[in-house]
């Protein structure tokens, strides 16, 4: 009943969530989430802190497990089975707020790891791919340095390259610019905009509303574990329907 390999038909959605519910103990953190992400779609998720937006995208590659509802990623239904989870993760790239680069490995080795151990490709090919992606995020000249020797913006660009090296079908961004110094935010956003232009399916949790206006097909606003509003950016920013959304927008855009 399950597909052994991921299907890449144009009509199957990239991500499908139905009736998703999650609790941390007694705390109901995700409530009846229904969300479908089409191939090539770029979605920005925003909302106040504690609204469950990070938890939502972390459920997609099972960094968090949900208690009710179903998630189908690239045609593969999520279960508790480790093999199934690893299969899904191979198609899902993720970028974290705190980069989470491996500090004991060089930048290049960070990018080679999953190709060597998960995709089992030969070393020469792996390094070539890694250098290509490092080139694309404009950090190839730092390939032999260790993450600890790079600035925050550089580290985050490496993290993006590392995720891209898996050649994922979809990229998840969990507040990728929140831990950066202001002057480094742009270099990371530029890379993300570029990626969006190339047609990558993206799901970004971010407070960068400029980014949302530029690339998002849809903006999703979450509060108290539920999706409050879902609209294209023009509508979302100019004519928000919900009071909560208006309040949120006035707070982050009003200065």
């Amino acid at each position: 009943m399950s597909q052994a390999t991921a299907t890449s038909h144009g009509d199957t959605p990239m991500i499908e969530m139905k009736g998703l519910n999650k609790w941390y103990g007694d705390f109901h953190v995700l409530r009846d989430i229904d969300l479908t992400v089409k191939r090539g779609e770029r979605i920005v998720v925003c909302g106040p802190s504690g609204s469950g937006k990070s938890t939502l995208i972390r459920c997609i590659n099972h960094l968090e497990s949900h208690q009710q509802g179903e998630i189908v990623v690239n045609g593969v239904a999520m279960t508790q089975d480790v093999k199934r989870i690893e299969q899904i993760r191979r198609n899902v790239g993720m970028v974290f707020q705190h980069f989470n680069l491996f500090p004991h490995l060089s930048v290049l080795e960070n990018c080679c790891l999953s190709q060597i151990w998960v995709q089992k490709k030969p070393r020469a090919e792996v390094e070539k791919t890694a250098m290509e992606y490092l080139e694309r995020v404009q950090i190839a000249d730092q390939a032999y340095k260790y993450p600890g020797q790079l600035s925050g913006g550089q580290q985050q660009r490496v993290a993006i390259a590392r995720a891209l090296c898996m050649r994922p079908e979809v990229m998840l961004f969990d507040e990728p610019t929140s831990a950066l110094d202001p002057e480094m935010i742009k270099e990371v956003l530029d890379v993300m905009v570029e990626l969006a232009r190339e047609g990558m399916t993206m799901l970004c949790v971010t407070h960068e509303m400029g980014f949302a206006k530029t690339v998002a097909d849809r903006v999703i606003f979450m509060d108290q574990g539920q999706i409050i509003e879902e609209a294209p950016p023009e509508t979302f920013f100019n004519n928000p329907r919900s009071e909560r959304t208006k309040l949120f927008l006035s707070q982050i855009l009003g200065h």
Binding site: V82, R89, N100, P103, L113, W117, V118, M166
Partner: protein, 369 residues
């Protein structure tokens, strides 16, 4: 008055002021940089000389070095002839003289392998590791124990001295680290049964004195197993020592595992790595690096505690020297014997300590977790 200001030209980087170098400068800056400090320095040096001088005189200046019998000892200082006359037995124990070349080969192999593994510039580390893990133990087993390829069988009852100390320490160290790592991972496992087994194992072995373990291994174990099955006494002691120290090692490693941020494992998961890959490639390399001081601390404690095997009748370095003290030709040289034993132990332990510091520096990659 506060006003506006602006810089037209950027300041070029300049070299720092010359550091004061040289021994005299160092002495002046560190020991004699003021009247109080100078007095403290002089008094400290005085006390040191006063305390150590008699020992230096005894151990070096008035000592007797040459000769082969008790007649060579003048009695004014230490008589190292006691050591040199018994040197062979201190190294080989009761190992038959005709077969001692086999022990020499094992020593040489071990030294060579250690150098190959420990010196970063020597290439072929992968081969060195494979030989050290598979080839060397087999070679050492065949050579030391004999009984194959026309080599005379030498029972472990005849092993002794430094050779026995090194055998016990090496096997203890090499065995306890991997078992400790597995136990540490087990104790953090999400599977309740695995976790429970690890906790019980660790807490049991950590809670009994090593002497008890050795006694149990040598005296009690034979009572429980059928008489036809006869385990070698040394083997039993080795298993006991390995399990005992692996419990300590597990807790040291667990300390390191806990210090690695959860984001590291999450990043590994997101890349599709499975549990063993995440542990082996991401978490353990960082965790082990972090706890090198603790690991080496345990190694050193293990090395020194090998001398406890004397209570179950195995003659390690210390026990051999003690046995020499009861030799009627050589009564009254206990101090020399113990000082020499201490020196040998110290040399090995200090080497481990220095090497670990060097490795720690080498593994520094410019981050702080």
């Amino acid at each position: 008055m506060a006003g506006e200001s602006m810089r037209d030209e950027m300041i070029e980087a300049r070299r720092p002021p010359n550091a004061h170098r040289g021994v005299l400068k160092w002495l002046q800056r560190n020991l004699f940089n003021g009247p109080i400090n100078s007095v403290v320095s002089v008094v400290t040096l005085g006390v040191l000389v006063w305390a150590l001088w008699p020992f230096v005189q005894w151990a070096l200046i008035q000592a007797d070095w040459l000769g082969d019998s008790r007649q060579a000892c003048s009695g004014e200082g230490a008589c190292w002839v006691f050591i040199s006359a018994r040197f062979e037995s201190i190294i080989y124990g009761f190992y038959p003289e005709a077969a001692r070349w086999r022990v020499d080969i094992v020593f040489a192999l071990m030294a060579g392998l250690l150098a190959w593994l420990a010196i970063p510039k020597v290439p072929g580390k992968r081969w060195a590791a494979i030989i050290a893990v598979i080839g060397f133990p087999i070679a050492a087993y065949v050579l030391l124990l004999g009984g194959h390829f026309g080599l005379m069988h030498v029972s472990t009852r005849n092993w002794g001295g430094l050779m026995l100390t090194l055998t016990v320490a090496t096997i203890g160290i090499v065995g306890s680290l991997p078992i400790g790592i597995v136990l540490a991972l087990g104790r953090r496992s999400k599977m309740p049964l695995v976790r429970a087994v690890s906790v019980v194992f660790i807490e049991f072995w950590r809670g009994v004195p090593l002497i008890t373990v050795l006694f149990m291994a040598s005296v009690m174990l034979p009572l429980f197993v059928p008489t036809e099955v006869e385990f070698d006494k040394l083997l039993r002691a080795l298993v006991g020592i390995m399990l005992f120290w692996s419990a300590y090692m597990a807790e040291v490693v667990r300390g390191g595992l806990q210090a690695i941020p959860g984001g590291q494992e999450e990043a590994g998961k997101a890349l599709g790595l499975n549990y063993w890959q995440r542990m082996g490639l991401i978490v353990l390399p960082q965790a082990l690096k972090l706890v090198i001081p603790g690991i080496v601390n345990t190694f050193i404690a293990l090395f020194k505690d090998t001398s406890l095997v004397l209570i179950i009748g195995l003659f390690d370095l210390l026990a051999i020297i003690r046995a020499g003290l009861t030799d009627s030709d050589w009564l009254g040289f206990a101090t020399e014997g113990y000082v020499f034993a201490a020196l040998v132990f110290w040399v090995f332990c200090f080497s481990m300590s220095r090497y670990s510091q060097y490795i720690e520096k080498r593994l520094q990659t410019g981050h702080t977790n």
